[in-house]
Symmetry: C2
Subunit: 251 residues, 2 copies
Amino acid sequence: MTEMMTKEELEAGLRKIGAERYHHLHPFQKLLQDGKLNKAQVQAWALNRYYYQANIPVKDSFILARLGTVELRREWRQRIIDHDGSETERGGIEKWIALTDGVGLDRAYVESGEGILPGTRFAVDAYVHFVRERTLLEAVASSLTELFSPNVIGIRTKGMLEHYPFISKETLAYFDKRPVQAKRDSDFALEYCLENARTPEQQQAVLNALRFKCQVLWAQLDALHFSYVDPALTPPDVWRPGVAETGREAA
Amino acid sequence: MTEMMTKEELEAGLRKIGAERYHHLHPFQKLLQDGKLNKAQVQAWALNRYYYQANIPVKDSFILARLGTVELRREWRQRIIDHDGSETERGGIEKWIALTDGVGLDRAYVESGEGILPGTRFAVDAYVHFVRERTLLEAVASSLTELFSPNVIGIRTKGMLEHYPFISKETLAYFDKRPVQAKRDSDFALEYCLENARTPEQQQAVLNALRFKCQVLWAQLDALHFSYVDPALTPPDVWRPGVAETGREAA
C-alpha cells in the first residue's frame, strides 16, 4: 500500500517529475534554443504549437465549469482572459499568431489547424479529454507543468533571439508575460492540489496527472522531431516547408 | 461547393485514400515485414499494438450502442465476438496475447498497458473518442481501413515468418482469420456508408473519417519508429528492451 505523504513530500514528488520528464529535456527543445533548427523547422514548431495554445482556453473552460464555487472560478477565469485577451489587451492566442506571422506563415492556414501533425492533434485532444473526464483534482493537477515553464521560457527566448535572424523580440511577445502568469497560476494550482489530495490514492492521482501532462508536451515534440528533423518523415496531409508562406516575415 | 458523387465515385475516393495513406506505406511496416527489425523492436510493436487491439471492442461497443436497429446491431456485434472470443473459440485479443507471449513479453505487463508509448495511447484514445463524438456515419466510416488490411496482412505474415526465428505460425495466429473477417466487416461498412452518405457534406465526412483513421494507424507507427528505430529516443516511463521479458518465447 502507498502511504500518505506530507504536503512537502507531495510537492517534492511533483518537482521531481518536472525535473525528469518536463519537455525541457527533449532534444527538439534543445535544438530550438541552441539555434540548430532551420527556418522551416521553427515554422513547423510555431504552426503545431498554435493548436496547443488555441485549446488552452477550451480545457480551462471545462475546468471552470467544474470548479463549483465563485471563489475558485474567479481565480481560474484569469487564465482564459490571459489567453483570449480583451478589447484593450492582446491575449496569448493573438500573440502566438504574431509569432506565426513573424516566421512568415499564413494566418488563415495556421488558424485552420489544417496542416498540423496528427501527433499534435491527438496529444492536445487527449489533454482536453483528460480535464473533462478525470476528477477535478486530476484536471487541476494536469496544469502543474507551469511550475517548470518560467525557467525554460527564459532560456528559449534568449537562445532564439540570439540565433535566428527571422526571430524578433516582437515575434516572441507571447512569452513576455508568461513567466509571471505561469507562476501565479501554478502557485494557486499547487496549493489546491496539496490541500485537496486527502488520501494516498488522491496523492498518487495528482502525481499521475502531472506525468500524463508531461507526456502531452513530450509527445508534441516527438512528433515534430520525427516529422521535421530526424528522419524528417512527414506523414501524409501535413504542412511541408514552403506551404502557406506569406513572404512577409519579420526582417 | 462540393458536388454529390455517385456511389462509384465515393468508393473510388475511399480506395484512393487507402492507396495513399494506409500504414502499409509507413517505413516501420516495411522494416517489420522485411525482417529488418531486431527482436526488441518487434517486441515494442507487439506491446504497443496490444493497446490498439484491446480497444477495438470498446470502440465497437460505442458504435453498437448507437446503431439503433436490431438488424444493424446483429451485424456489428460479430466484431466484438471476434475480438473477445467465446468459451469455445479464442478471440483476437487472446490471440494477440499469444503473439506477445511468443516474443517473450510478460503477459500481466502487456495487459496493464503500463509501458506503452504516449503516442500509442493518444492515437488509440482519439479513435475511441471519435466514434463516440462524431456522427454514426463517420463512426462507421472510420472502420473502413479494413478494406485495405487483407492484402497487407498476407505480406506481413509471410515476411515475418520468413525473417524472424522467434516468430512462429502459432505466434501469428491472430492474423489467420483476420482477412476473412475484415473483408466481411468492411463490405458491410462500405455498403452502409455508400447508402447513408446522402449529401455532398456527408460524403466528405465519410472521406475525412477514413483519413482520420489512417492517421490513427500511421501515428502509432510514427511513435514506434521514432522511439525504437530512429533516433530511438525512448520517452520517459515507457518500455525499454529487456523489461518484462519472460525468457519463455517461442523457439
